[in-house]
Every structure is written in structure tokens, then in C-alpha cells.
Symmetry: none
């Protein structure tokens, strides 16, 4: 048996409660000698780390900087190399769409082409978001269906949109309908497998009709599509781990990712307090909780070291309320690092603490990257977090006799 | 090549001597702040740890609690996910049977059925071990063979027994002949593959005849069989690692596991001193020694913290005699943790020390879980122990040019 199969065969349902706190972009890099976490005042996390097991997790593997899709799959216990989430799907989840196996998604750009069909500007002069919304409304009213397949178009920011083709038998083995460069001809998609031929015909028919309809909208007179994808065929966390999981997150993308693995996505408000309140109110209904705190990542992406420090301190103040719920297992970690000096996700490992009755505490005094490295959990891939949480919740049977 | 193939190609026979000391159930969890190892006085292990490399091993993988089968396979250098040892085989090894590729084993229960064949009690009212022995003798005298296949039945404790079908071409792709629940009909086995059809016929013929014969033995008037299995087709440690290995263990199960990987199982006595004496007397005849100390696991399973501490201290006193043999490589570790507070095997990593001429000593002052974690070996799966021992014994050639 594979390790995945073994874990699945060992998982059992029990009453114990597991909480996975994901601090988005938690890890950082030093500025004047201190990382964001090291610069932050986090007395609650520090106290918790002292009585926990600590370590460092690689979101995926040494050196790999993940997007939110793969990093969350790994945190949820799914091999991120095995289950891929396409760019169209991520974009659709990001605007809150609930996708089914019948949905084929793609990311779109409005672009400018000349009379010969050559792309002059892939971003149509970065039209305004309002203009984008107007064009999307118009296109949607013009083309609702192609060859029996429903089409829905959702505006994003500036020239960007998401498109969803809906119907049975659609395939995502398609090349991008986007040369990705100015000066080249706009082109249709090509099917990469026999099975995707009908899908390619639908997409190309749509593109032809859209270009025709867009003529009056110069400079946004063309449509480019890329990242055709469907949601992966992924077993639920109940199927894999016998968990009854709930997700608490404010951003649509994380809510969507949680839904992909069969979590119940709970209604919640905009603030950290709202999220913790939701956790409290729903604590009896589930045995696994994923709670996502977004702010440190946003601050990191903006290159704002101080704001990230502040965001971490704010999250630290939520810890006592979470502990008062008395979970059997509590893990605090992140999906990836977002060092302010990089202004982007990074490959660096993240601190993790695991608190349960069944540990030998590491007696570490601060919840930081460099202190957690001294703990017994060692350095390990995020994919191992769920097995560890299950074990500490006494939710795994013995392997073999 | 796979890593396994690479290792096999690099292994070479040399005169160096390797000793693997396995302290069953070594790892623990704190009671009043100290684990069993932390509470024990182990001056010899501590002195040895000081001049060794230390680390923490996961028996299988993060979070997985192993039975003795998988954990020993990993210690012996065999991927425990690849080589599976069935429950029937483990039970047969546990009572000291020497199995060949012609033996199909299963675990059995005597049970009570009513006149319609419905199971009233899966354990036949937990008949006495003496009664069990009497029934087994009777059954054995009645049924020695089915369709040319020999059958042997061995009593265990209370209602339990082990059965072995012996003959060529027997397969273990069989469902349990045991609904595992009272109130259901006793049933035969079904073959899961075409090839196992003849085997299923043999087993079912046996079951029919046994039920008939058992009528006078109410409440033990039925036989349930589960865990049909044969020994895995596993290369020997000589084939894999060019080792000439010997095993020293008092319990039949560990002796049986060692035999599965081609170790010579040495005759020894019941005490620790006997085992060490055996090691001494046979030291010239082999180049790899597996020596197994059982007591800490038994004490842990009983939830007896103090007894486990005592067992560890007793083992500590054996260390000087082992060191006097002057092995080239000495590893001390465990097959899994058995924390007294859990009264069972657990998933926690175990301390390991590796002593050889070719290390950079960690200068760790105590051989405990939390001290070993600070060593250079880091945290790693038990499967890597044999490669490390081979390397330190200069028994591995260079990989590639």
C-alpha cells in the first residue's frame, strides 16, 4: 500500500477536536537582524510554544515557493504534486464561485488587436474596472450559450476576467488561447487530447462570436483566454481522514480551496474577532477546524514590514480565545512565508507549533522561525501536519500488527 | 535506479561489526515533567551518547503508530509500506512457527452460533485456554488435510488460535471468514482473485468440516478465520546489504521477524544477561547483530511508568558489556514509543544514538528524547538506520563517479 492508502485505512472518527490555525505569509526575513515574527510582541504564541512541540515546515519542498493552491492542499493533507489546481480554477475560487465537475474555467484578458488580428496590447491599455464590468455585462447578454454549453463571464480588475463554460463532458486538455505576447496573432485554443475536441470547438466558437461582438469596444476588442482548468477530482477530508471539517476564512479563495476538499465553509465576518467568534459558535458541530488569518500576507506582499509585525501581534491577541475552547490538538503555522523584503511569497520554511496532551514539550521561549527550529518536530513538509494532528487526536489506528 | 537499488548496488562485505540494539517501546511521554527515559538513571547510555551522534527517529512516518511488524521491517532496512506482514503471519510468528512460502496463515476465534448459523458470541464466552487446547487437539486429530492441503491448528489464549494451511500454490487474496460482529451469519471466505479460487475452496471445505466436528463443543461450536496471509516475498539482508546477520531476541515474534529477512536466529536464554552473553559468544560468526530488549514495552503497555523506568535502567547496565566487544558501529534505539500514560504503542519519535569511529560527536549529556533531538542526526525515518550503519562500517561504496 502507499502511505496515502495506509493513512486512509487507519483514520477513524472520534470526538476529539482539532484546530489548524493558518497565518498567511507568516514566515519572514530579517530587517535590522529580526524577522517580522522576531520583531513582533507575541506573548500568547510564545507562552503556547513553551508548552508545545515546535518545528519548521516546508510548504511543499526545499526551495519551492508555492501559490496558495498547492500550499493549502498540502496543509489539508493532500499531495500538492498529485493534485493540481489550475489557474482558471484558482481565479474562479478567488471571486467566490462554487465550481462543480461540469465547470471549465479560464482566466481572461481583454486585449487590443488590429484589423489583421495581431495583438497590439495584451491588456487593452489597462481599461478601467468599470469599463471591464460594462463589457462583461454586454458580452454576457450577447452570448449566453455556445453549442448547448452555458457561458458565464465575471469581471475582475482592469482588463482581467474569469470565464466559466458549463456543461457535461467538458475537458481541460487545451492550449492557451493567448500567445502571451504583443505582436503575435490572437489565436484559438487547440485540444491536446482527442476527448477535448468538442470542448475546443465550443471555446473557439465563443472566441469568434466574442471578437465579433467586441468590435465597437476598441481598445478592448479582443479576448485572450488561458489556464483552462476544471476542479481536480479530489477525495474529501472525510473520505481521506474521517474528519468532519469546517473552514473559517474571510477571503473567497481560501473558502473555495476548503470547499474543494469537502470542508463546510462557515459564514463569518470580516475581522479576526468575527472569525474566532465563528469558531466558538460552531465548535460543537465539527471535529476539524481550519481558521485562516490573511493580513500578514497582504502586508508582506506590500513590502510593509511594520504592518506585517502589527498584523502578527493582532493575531497573537486571538490565541487566548482559541485556547479557551480547549481543543485536543491545536496547530499554529502558515501556508508559506511572505517576507516584506521580497514583497512576495517565498520558499522559506515556516514555524509551526503543535499543542496536545500527548507531547514532550520543547520549552521554547518564542514562536519564531529560528526558535521553532530547535524543537522536536524538526523540519518537515507541510503534508505531514494532518497525520500528526490525527495522531495527537488519537484518530489513527495502529499500522500493522 | 531507485534508492533501494542504489543501496543494494553499493553494499559490500567487510570485516566490520555492526550492532543494532533495539529497546522495545523506548520512547515515552512526560509524567510530572519527565519521560520514562528522563526519569531513569542511565549513566552508561548517557556516557555513550556523549561520544555518539544522536537524533530522533520516526518508526514509520510522522503520526503513524506502528505494530511490531512494520516497525521492525523499517529498522531492518525494508520499506514498511512496500513489504506488508499480514495478521495471520504475525500471529504465527508470535507463537514461534517457522513459515515458508507454502504456508497460508490466519488468526482464528472459536465462536458460538445458533442452529441457523447466526453468531451469538464471537468469543464463545471466552472459553478457558485449557478448553481451547483440548478443542484444538480434537480438531487436529479430526482434520489433518483438506483436498491434499495439510492443516495445522495451534491454540492461543482463551478463544484464539492460529491456523496454517500448507501446500503449493496457496494464495492469500481472501476475504475474512468472519463478519467481525455478533448477530450476523458465520460465513466462508471469498477469493479476491481468480488465482485464489482453489485456496478459497480449501478453506471453506475446512470450515464446513470443522463446524460439523465442533457440534458437541457448544459454546465453542464454530470457527471464524481472519487475516489470511503468507510471508512476504522479501529479499534477505545478505541480498540487500551483503550482511551476514544474527538475531538475539527472547520473544518468538521478534525471532520470527528476523528470520523473515534472512537473519540467523541465535539460541539464547530469558534474561538480558543471557542475550548479551549470546552476543559475546557469537560475535565472531556474523557482521550484523540485532539484539532486542522487550521489557520497557511490556511495562509501557501495562501503564507502569516506574517499571518501565526500571527496565530502562536494567538495560543501561548491559551497555558496558556490549561496548567491550568493541563493535565498529553501535546503534541504540527503539522500534516505537510505548508511553506508560498511553498504555500502547504510539507515533512519537524515538531517541537514537550512533557510535562509530567516523562521527563528529554531539557531546549530548543524556540519552533522552529531548536531548537526542539536539544531535546532528536530526529527525528521520527508521528506514535510514541501516544505510547509516553500513556507511559507518565502511560497507558502502561510492555512488557514481
Amino acid at each position: 500500500m502507499t502511505k496515502e492508502e495506509v493513512l486512509q485505512s487507519l483514520a477513524m472518527q472520534t470526538d476529539s477536536k482539532l484546530i489548524l490555525v493558518v497565518i498567511d505569509g507568516i514566515g519572514g526575513l530579517p530587517v535590522r537582524g529580526k524577522t517580522e515574527l522576531e520583531a513582533a510582541k507575541t506573548p500568547n504564541l510564545d507562552r503556547l510554544a513553551y508548552k508545545s512541540n515546535c518545528g519548521l515546515i516546508d510548504p511543499i519542498s526545499y526551495g519551492i515557493t508555492p501559490g496558495s493552491g498547492p500550499s493549502h492542499l498540502a496543509l489539508f493533507g493532500y499531495d500538492p504534486f498529485r493534485y493540481e489546481i489550475g489557474r482558471g480554477v484558482m481565479e474562479a475560487l478567488g471571486i467566490g464561485l462554487k465550481l462543480t465537475q461540469n465547470d471549465l474555467t479560464a482566466r481572461g484578458n481583454f486585449a487590443t488587436i488590429d484589423e489583421k488580428g495581431t495583438i497590439i496590447d495584451r491588456r487593452a491599455g489597462r481599461i478601467s474596472t468599470e469599463k471591464n464590468q460594462e463589457i462583461c455585462r454586454f458580452l454576457q447578454s450577447k452570448i449566453r450559450e455556445v453549442n448547448g454549453i452555458k457561458v458565464a463571464i465575471y469581471p475582475g480588475r482592469e482588463h482581467r476576467f474569469v470565464i466559466v463554460f458549463q456543461g457535461e463532458g467538458l475537458k481541460d486538455d487545451l492550449t492557451d488561447a493567448d500567445p502571451q505576447k504583443d505582436g503575435q496573432k490572437a489565436k484559438g485554443t487547440e485540444n491536446l487530447t482527442e476527448e477535448a475536441q468538442r470542448t475546443a470547438e465550443v471555446v473557439n466558437e465563443y472566441l469568434g462570436r466574442a471578437m465579433e461582438a467586441l468590435k465597437p469596444f476598441h481598445p478592448a476588442n479582443a479576448v485572450l483566454l488561458r489556464g483552462f482548468s476544471k476542479i481536480p477530482n479530489i477525495p474529501t477530508m472525510f473520505e481521506r481522514f474521517k474528519l468532519k471539517p469546517a473552514a473559517i476564512a474571510t477571503y473567497p479563495m481560501y473558502r473555495g480551496l476548503a470547499r474543494l476538499v469537502g470542508m463546510e465553509v462557515l459564514e463569518t465576518g470580516e475581522t479576526l474577532q468575527d472569525e474566532v467568534e465563528t469558531l466558538k459558535n460552531s465548535f460543537n458541530g465539527y471535529d476539524f477546524f481550519y481558521i485562516h488569518f490573511k493580513k500578514p500576507d497582504s502586508a508582506g506582499e506590500d513590502g510593509n514590514f511594520k504592518l506585517k509585525v502589527k498584523a502578527l501581534e493582532e493575531i497573537d491577541r486571538m490565541i487566548p480565545s482559541i485556547l479557551r475552547l480547549n481543543p485536543d490538538v491545536l496547530v499554529v503555522t502558515g501556508d508559506h512565508s511572505t517576507p516584506a523584503i521580497l514583497k512576495s511569497h517565498s520558499w522559506h520554511p515556516n514555524p509551526i507549533l503543535l499543542y496536545s496532551k500527548y507531547i514532550r514539550p520543547d520549552r521554547i521561549r518564542r514562536f519564531t522561525e529560528r526558535q521553532c527550529q530547535k524543537g522536536q518536530l524538526g523540519r518537515f513538509p507541510a503534508l505531514e501536519i494532518i497525520p500528526l494532528m490525527l495522531a495527537n487526536g488519537l484518530k489513527l489506528k495502529k499500522f500493522g500488527a
